[in-house]
């Protein structure tokens, strides 16, 4: 039923998703080092030029090259997402390891707070934190990093709780290893697999949240380009310059599609029962 013949080739969703993400990373890498034009350079003689030979994806209301801005925006978005996911993973892992290993009241109190933070829907917590931290590149990284920490802490704590009863942990203790050593040497490496799956999907959520916050004007401030603020800037010109509203949105959607497809492929591989349950 699940087509065993297909097993030799990578699943189509992995192939398409992987290709999309590879294109994203290549664009972001290139955009960080080189763009066809200066993404910030104003040129009022070339305002709202339609896509053509000179400017492949057209220019915006200030005559800036859209392709260059998309490439620079990719670099910014990917960099922000990587830093945010790293921050959330480091903080969440520390909290989860500590809570799961201590158990008892320490665990109960930490997890009660953790679960209450999970009770803030969507990007609400990030919005609240941005009100405190201020809307800028670093504010967004810290706000989203803190907002996504509770989900990491929950996954790590769950893994720790199931691991600490296993024989090899008891063996480490019997050998005279300290709690801290056992935690870092034996428990942490076993958390890496579930963390990888979580970090992959989190990268997508963070990229979407960053675009949404930039769209609202609470992210990276202009003139620095991000896909979200380019989309927000396109609204007044959308009837004269459709391309301004099309390309940044297309970039965000294709990236999210790539991450969703990769995530599905990863889950199919890890949970054979769900194979095909895309």
């Amino acid at each position: 039923m699940n087509g065993h013949g297909r097993m030799k080739l990578p699943a189509p969703n992995a192939l398409v998703g992987g290709t999309l993400i590879a294109i994203l990373l290549a664009t972001a890498g290139t955009g960080a080092l080189w763009t066809p034009y200066d993404p910030l350079k104003l040129s009022f003689r070339e305002k709202l030029v339609a896509p053509g030979a000179l400017h492949w994806l057209g220019t915006d209301e200030f005559g800036r090259d859209v392709l260059s801005r998309l490439m620079a925006g990719a670099a910014t978005s990917v960099w922000i997402s990587i830093l945010t996911v790293t921050l959330a993973v480091v903080m969440g892992t520390t909290i989860g390891l500590f809570s799961g290993y201590m158990r008892g009241w320490t665990d109960r109190i930490i997890m009660a707070f953790n679960d209450a933070l999970l009770a803030f829907p969507g990007i609400l917590l990030a919005l609240g934190l941005l009100a405190v931290l201020g809307a800028n590149k670093y504010g967004i990284i810290v706000a989203l990093g803190i907002a996504y920490t509770p989900s990491v802490a929950r996954v790590v704590r769950g893994t720790v709780l199931s691991l600490r009863e296993r024989e090899f942990i008891a063996a480490s203790r019997v050998m005279g290893n300290g709690e801290g050593f056992t935690m870092l040497r034996h428990i942490l490496p076993n958390c890496i697999a579930p963390l990888t799956v979580l970090a992959t999907s989190m990268f997508g959520y963070v990229l979407l949240a960053e675009s949404a916050l930039s769209f609202l004007g609470l992210g990276v401030p202009p003139p620095a380009p991000t896909w979200g603020n380019m989309l927000a800037g396109s609204r007044p010109y959308i009837d004269q310059a459709v391309w301004l509203g099309i390309f940044p949105g297309l970039c965000i959607s294709l990236t999210l599609l790539g991450i969703n497809l990769l995530g599905d492929a990863l889950r199919d591989k890890l949970d054979p029962r769900m194979r095909g349950a895309r």
Partner: protein, 314 residues
């Protein structure tokens, strides 16, 4: 059943309390005098002194929290700095605008997506299944703020069928009001359909593999009886929970859709308050949305035994 409801409600209370503590602490993290923050730069020394006494700023932090939370429980969320209006009525008025959009979109999305997901699972790996899942994944990957812009571009500007920006309350003029709501609802409907369809399909697939389904088929029941009477009832639980999460998440994330269509909803109120540093409104919105989210999920959980009586029996 009664015990299940009581336990579940008792479990929600500490969460609500910690949510309140978090929102209180969050605003207190902002450097400066809390009374000054709450009244803005134009406050007079007399009003500042008055508010300091009312907030109990000369007392310990737990006492200050107690005073603040007591006020909140009495419906006193403070006063907006920019509009000088009481915060709670302002929030409720904006909440109604957002809630009608979110509620209609989620109900419509569930009505279409749940049957579609069940049918996709029933015909797993067929062209129909691949088409439905592909469409759902695509819809799910398009951010609502771009989907909204595309709809606006097509139905508003190109075809001219629907009003492009603005908002008219249904209470004032129901015909015009409805027209203004079509595109925001359609945006959320399309996006959430992708989310719900995938969940309904995945949970139906889980159930269709179980022995009792094979048994039902072996008894000679028709496929539609197997699917709707036996599989659907057990498969709907996880989807029902997801619908609750979607409802709450939309309330938190609706600001972008309200920005696209310039709708004066709760999300826009919060974002405008962040820009204006209107801290009483920020605090009120965060508390209100988080409380609503917890309560929606509580109601969803309390309804769960209707689909799966085992939950209440445990």
């Amino acid at each position: 059943m009664f015990r299940f409801a009581l336990t579940r409600i008792a479990m929600a209370l500490p969460t609500l309390l910690i949510v309140a503590v978090s929102v209180f602490v969050l605003i207190r993290l902002i450097p400066g005098d809390p009374a000054q923050l709450m009244l803005g730069d134009l406050a007079t020394p007399a009003s500042l002194a008055d508010l300091r006494t009312r907030l109990g700023l000369d007392q310990s932090l737990p006492v200050q929290f107690g005073i603040w939370f007591g006020n909140v429980l009495h419906g006193d969320f403070g006063q907006s700095i920019s509009s000088q209006q009481a915060v709670l009525p302002l929030i409720l008025q904006r909440f109604l605008v957002s809630a009608q959009i979110v509620l209609v979109a989620v109900v419509l999305a569930s009505l279409f997506a749940v049957p579609a997901g069940v049918i996709a699972a029933w015909r797993q790996d067929s062209a129909l299944d691949i088409g439905l899942v592909g469409a759902a994944t695509l819809l799910l990957s398009i951010p609502t703020f771009w989907l909204g812009l595309l709809l606006l571009l097509f139905f508003g500007l190109k075809l001219g069928w629907l009003p492009v920006v603005g908002y008219v309350s249904i209470a004032d003029d129901w015909k015009a009001g409805l027209l203004y709501l079509v595109m925001p609802i359609m945006t959320l409907f399309l996006h959430e359909m992708g989310v719900v369809l995938r969940m309904a399909r995945a949970s139906t697939l889980e159930v269709l593999r179980l022995d009792y389904i094979t048994h039902a088929r072996a008894k000679g029941l028709s496929e539609s009886a197997v699917l709707w009477r036996h599989a659907f009832k057990n498969a709907f639980g996880p989807t029902w929970t997801l619908i609750g999460l979607v409802l709450g998440n939309l309330l938190g994330g609706i600001a972008v859709v309200e920005t696209v269509f310039t709708i004066p909803g709760l999300g826009r109120l919060l974002v405008d308050a962040i820009f204006a540093r209107d801290y009483p409104v920020i605090q009120g919105c965060m508390l209100f949305v988080a409380f609503t989210y917890v309560l929606v999920n509580l109601v969803i959980d309390l309804c769960y035994p209707i689909f799966d009586p085992r939950v209440a029996a445990e």
